[in-house]
């Protein structure tokens, strides 16, 4: 490696590190993302200068770049903000697949050029790459609702199965260095792909963000292993950096949900343990003291409220009701009410997901209040409106040690004077657990689609002259 390409690599690593660091701060995040992209471009350019590919190689580089680049461009522009967790999972799976294919290529056709270290690197690259790919695809399919949690995956049997697969992977991995292009390679590929599926499939949808974050960390490890395979230090650094950073992020997310990583990975789906039906909507059994009310009554309560807190959840995003919500809060502000939004760390389906969705609807950033800040404020709140959130407002998490949610930090909306829960039906939450909040005396259910209900509330408030009064005042 000559001095010029070495210098390019060093600059690229520096920019990547600065980019990753900047991404963790609100003010610098966007430019940091650009910086990381620039670093990536620089690294690619530097490598091409150094490799001097021949014409046939250029042809394949062009084909691969065009196909992957255009597909990435289209996906990134088309995908709705609500589907962000699935999208990250899909991209991540493809990154794992790329590392896997490189290791496969070297193992099949260039194994005579590899030493023991190279072959162990092939092992790791195939193993981690395959798990990242199959795990990410399963995670995506579960979030999209294409895959359920099969019953057998909740039995203890799954541990036996996964352990057997892990042992099979290990055996194949040990055999691979002596026979790099033969059965151990295919055995390892098969066993680790199945292991990725077997580990991800039993995990409930509510925990999927943690899994995606962990798989993201794995794809960094896979990249670092591929770096060992092709002998690229830049790849090793960048892969290790992302792998370690992904691990930290996973840990941060687990802390936000008050669960340990081991529990998420091996504990199975929350709802299944509670005996509830996972993902089975319309399960109304168990509720006895439900009070429902019309949007008109809700509007009357809002009209006289001085302090209103919205608790948005994934249901809001599904109903595409962010803009209707913004409309309603503008009306309330015009009426002199103080409006804020309580954001649970895991609101939506991924930490920070809800902030993105509300930002899309032009909700001022200062009105999004995090859980620890807003919890002491609930006792002096007149009206709380829960929109498509469920488990994150369940008071059982604080009071009922038998609840599977027990110990998870929740928004203490039960402290507010009046709570309205806008919900389609009494179906269980994402984790499949009944919510004690619904039966409290100060709670009323407003049944309906979040967007439709919000629009009705706006209409009601306007008909009571709320908007008009503001115009006179202004």
């Amino acid at each position: 490696m000559d001095f010029a390409s070495c210098a390019i690599d060093l600059v690229a690593v520096l920019l990547l590190a600065l980019g990753l660091k900047g991404l963790a701060k609100v003010r610098t995040a966007r430019s940091a993302n650009g910086l990381a992209a620039l670093a990536m471009g620089l690294a690619v350019a530097g490598l091409l200068l150094q490799l001097q590919p021949g014409p046939a190689a250029w042809l394949w580089i062009a084909i691969g770049s065009a196909a992957g680049g255009i597909a990435g461009l289209i996906t990134a522009q088309r995908v709705p903000m609500t589907a962000m967790p699935e999208t990250v999972a899909l991209f991540n799976g493809c990154g794992g697949m790329a590392s896997l294919l490189v290791a496969l290529g070297v193992a099949l056709f260039q194994h005579d050029q590899t030493d023991l270290v190279g072959r162990i690197s092939i092992d790791i690259s195939v193993f981690v790459g395959a798990i990242t790919f199959s795990g990410s695809i399963v995670a995506m399919a579960k979030l999209q609702g294409w895959l359920d949690t099969p019953d057998w995956t909740q039995s203890a049997m799954r541990h036996g199965l996964n352990i057997s697969l892990a042992i099979a992977s290990l055996a194949a991995g040990l055999a691979l260095p002596t026979d790099p292009a033969g059965w151990p390679l295919w055995g390892l590929l098969l066993a680790s792909t199945l292991l990725g599926i077997g580990v991800t499939l039993p995990i409930g949808g509510a925990d999927m963000p943690v899994v995606i974050s962990l798989l993201n960390s794995y794809s960094g490890v896979a990249a670092a292993a591929a770096g060992f395979v092709v002998g690229s230090q830049l790849l090793i650094v960048a892969g290790a950096m992302v792998g370690a950073a992904g691990l930290i992020l996973t840990q941060v997310m687990c802390t936000a949900m008050n669960r340990s990583l081991l529990n998420v990975l091996f504990g199975g789906a929350l709802g299944a343990k509670a005996g509830g039906s996972v993902g089975g909507g319309g399960d109304e059994a168990g509720y006895t003291r439900i009070v429902s009310c019309s949007p008109e009554e809700c509007a009357m309560a809002l009209e006289s409220a001085e302090r209103v807190v919205f608790v948005p959840g994934y249901g809001l995003a599904v109903a595409q009701a962010q803009h209707a919500l913004r409309e309603l809060s503008k009306l309330l502000e015009a009426n002199g009410a103080e409006v804020s939004y309580a954001i649970h760390p895991v609101a939506g389906r991924m930490p920070g997901h809800m902030n993105v969705l509300l930002a899309e609807a032009d909700v001022p950033y200062e009105q999004l209040i995090e859980m620890d800040t807003i919890n002491p404020e609930f006792p002096r709140t007149d009206v709380v409106i829960v929109l498509g959130a469920n488990d994150v407002v369940n008071p059982d998490a604080k009071t009922d040690p038998t609840s599977p949610l027990y110990g998870m930090p929740v928004l203490e909306v039960d402290q507010a004077r009046q709570v309205f829960v806008v919900k389609r039906s009494l179906g269980a939450g994402y984790a499949g657990i009944a919510n004690a909040l619904f039966e409290l005396p100060q709670t009323a259910m407003v049944f309906g689609d979040a967007k439709a209900v919000l629009q009705q509330l706006c209409t009601e408030l306007r008909s009571q002259g709320v908007g008009a009064r503001a115009r006179v005042a202004a």
């Binding site: 980019g19 990753l20 660091k21 991404l23 963790a24 701060k25 995040a29 966007r30 993302n33 650009g34 990381a36 990536m40 690619v44 590919p53 046939a56 580089i61 691969g64 770049s65 680049g69 990435g72 461009l73 996906t75 990134a76 522009q77 995908v79 962000m84 990250v88 991209f91 493809c94 990154g95 590392s99 294919l101 490189v102 290529g105 056709f109 993201n216 794809s219 960094g220 990249a223 670092a224 591929a226 770096g227 230090q233 090793i236 650094v237 960048a238 290790a240 950096m241 992302v242 792998g243 992904g246 930290i248 992020l249 941060v252 930490p351 902030n355 993105v356 930002a359 950033y365 995090e370």
Partner: protein, 99 residues
Amino acid sequence: MSTLSQALWVLLLGSLLGLELIGKVPPTLHTPLMSGANAISGITVLASLTLIAQADGNGALLLLGGLSLGFALFNVIGGFLVTDRMLAMFGGRKSGSGG
């Protein structure tokens, strides 16, 4: 052997750097950060390019490399663009928030 120990040092220091870079992250940024880190992990394009350039006219290797490059670039380009789309919504909103 010296290349191996060098590579292991690089691995170690890279991991430590990654652990240090992200200490405190506001929950707002978890999703964009995950997405951005995911785009960076697409750095495996470098491995794909190396595989293609050193294929020596081996058709199967070129095909595998091309496929791998496609997957990796899908991750990189899609990842950076989608992260930018998310972060764009946080930017430029300091003004006009008076209500």
